[in-house]
Amino acid sequence: MNAPAQQGPAPTLVVDEVIPIERDGVPFAFHVPTSAFYELDPLTVQVLAAVNARGSVTEADLSNGFATALAVPPEELDEALRDLMSLRLLVPQEDRGRRIGGDEPPDLSKGVANLVMHVAHTCNLGCGYCYAEAGLYKGKATIMTEQRAVEYVDWLFDQADPDKKQLGLTFFGGEPLLNPRVIRAGAAHAQKRAKETGRTISFGITTNGTLVTEEIAQFLQDINATVTVSLDAIGKTNDRLRPFHSGKGSYDLVMEKIRPLLDRKIAVARVTVTRLNLDVVETVSTLLDAGFREVGCSAVDAKNPAYDLDGSHYHQLLEGMKVLTKRYVEHAARGEFYGFSNIHNIVKAIHNGHNKEYPCGAGLQMVAGAPNGKMSLCHRFVGEEDFVLGSLQKGGLDESKRKATLDAITLKERSDCGTCWARYICSGGCHHVNFLFNGEASKTYLTHCDWLRAWYRTGIETYADLLKVNPTFINQFVDPGYTCTA
């Protein structure tokens, strides 16, 4: 065989960690250690199957009848082997599963680029599953002062390396619109600092929608904010999950109040899926029809049997997400975008070959700031003292604690994930979900792993489908800089 020159004894070759995918008779391979995605020809599929059937193949096997057994000319087999070895789909036994070309975590010494600012630790809704416990985060109802907001903005701009030209500020709660004055003050100060330092600042806000007015919608449009409205279902199902403290439902009021956001096309919806609102097809399609740009679903993490999902619920959720995915592909075939965020996000991840040691930017590129000046790993960990990484009063982040916290929650520390094929996409899942259910952020919450793997597989299949039905969709909606070779 014409494999690259080797030194020492010829290696025993095995098939690397590869997830075979077939769509309409076309074979594909997702290579786990690199997150690379390939289309195979029939001979390479045949070779991989033959090596898998034997367990391994040696140099002696290759020179003694392997080609004959496969009934292919030796030169064609050489060509297939060369391709498979070059791309590491066939590897020496000792290299199986070796991660190569993974996305490196950002340099901690360059600070963070995003701050989630908790402007209100209180909420006018009382959702039973809320991890923040009605926005209180294990504390008393408080709102952030204007002075504190300005201090946070100054800290964000001062600690970020000059190389970080794009910074982000998210207004969060509780319900942030209970404190609109501080949102305006924080945004104005951030814009001033951005201008002074030659940076751009982007804004986001997550709201329950009950307090939106024409004036607030105009302000959010003026600062070009991404507005996420939390809505869990349609009508009475949503009312049951998202009531006011009086017990009265919020759906009709919210849909009326957010009209100025929908008219301006600046709102996306976030659906928290519990066992009480599993009909995501109705929810997502109705909210998209109502004028949301995108709608995304996220499984609840309540540690409350009245809300949490078990195996059958996850199955039902997956089926609904597959129906929405089909609509996404049908729209893509016509060159249109269907705003089901979950599939769009996983398609982007598969397209880029997402291969990470951390599931999100918590502590790496983003921290959360509470009204009392304490900064936490992320917004969900606010109120958990073990995950406080610093404070404004003490000059910012405690870098040794930040590093120690991040070192403890890297994928390398998650022994449960070691053999999972989806580990570099999922990276062990949400730190807070793991912490809530297992008591440790580094201990993977295994209950939803089957669902996640099935969903990631759907994402890979969908990516293959998109390349077939409309490759230009990738350039239009997923990655404008991409040159499609399919």
């Binding site: 690199t34 289309e39 070059s86 190569i100 070309g101 070959g353 291969n355 293959a464 990655d479 070779t485």
Partner: protein, 99 residues
């Protein structure tokens, strides 16, 4: 790559590295200097023949552009020594035009 098509961005990057690897080990270009220290080849694999890298990688992967003529101005500089097996005696310098 005759039989496998790289589809996503990561796959295409890997293929680029593989293609570059292959080009690095062919005798298609030459360089009058040596680039010490190439003990490891592209792709993180032990380089089976680092001395070839000394001859080729300085150009094809832009290791040290100053060692070869500017390709835009002197696109034909390799014409007389394109095949290192046949042309190894030729120095392949660019013409001195007095500038």
């Amino acid at each position: 790559m005759a039989r496998i098509k790289a589809l996503n961005v990561k796959a295409q990057r890997i293929q680029e590295v593989v293609d570059r690897d292959v080009r690095g080990y062919t005798f298609s270009d030459c360089c009058a200097s040596f680039a010490p220290g190439w003990e490891v080849g592209p792709g993180d694999n032990p380089d089976p023949c680092p001395w070839k890298s000394d001859l080729t990688l300085c150009w094809s992967t832009c290791y040290w552009m100053g060692q070869v003529p500017d390709q835009d101005s002197y696109g034909s500089w390799l014409d007389s020594c394109g095949n290192i097996n046949d042309d190894w005696r030729n120095l392949c310098t660019i013409p001195d035009n007095g500038q």
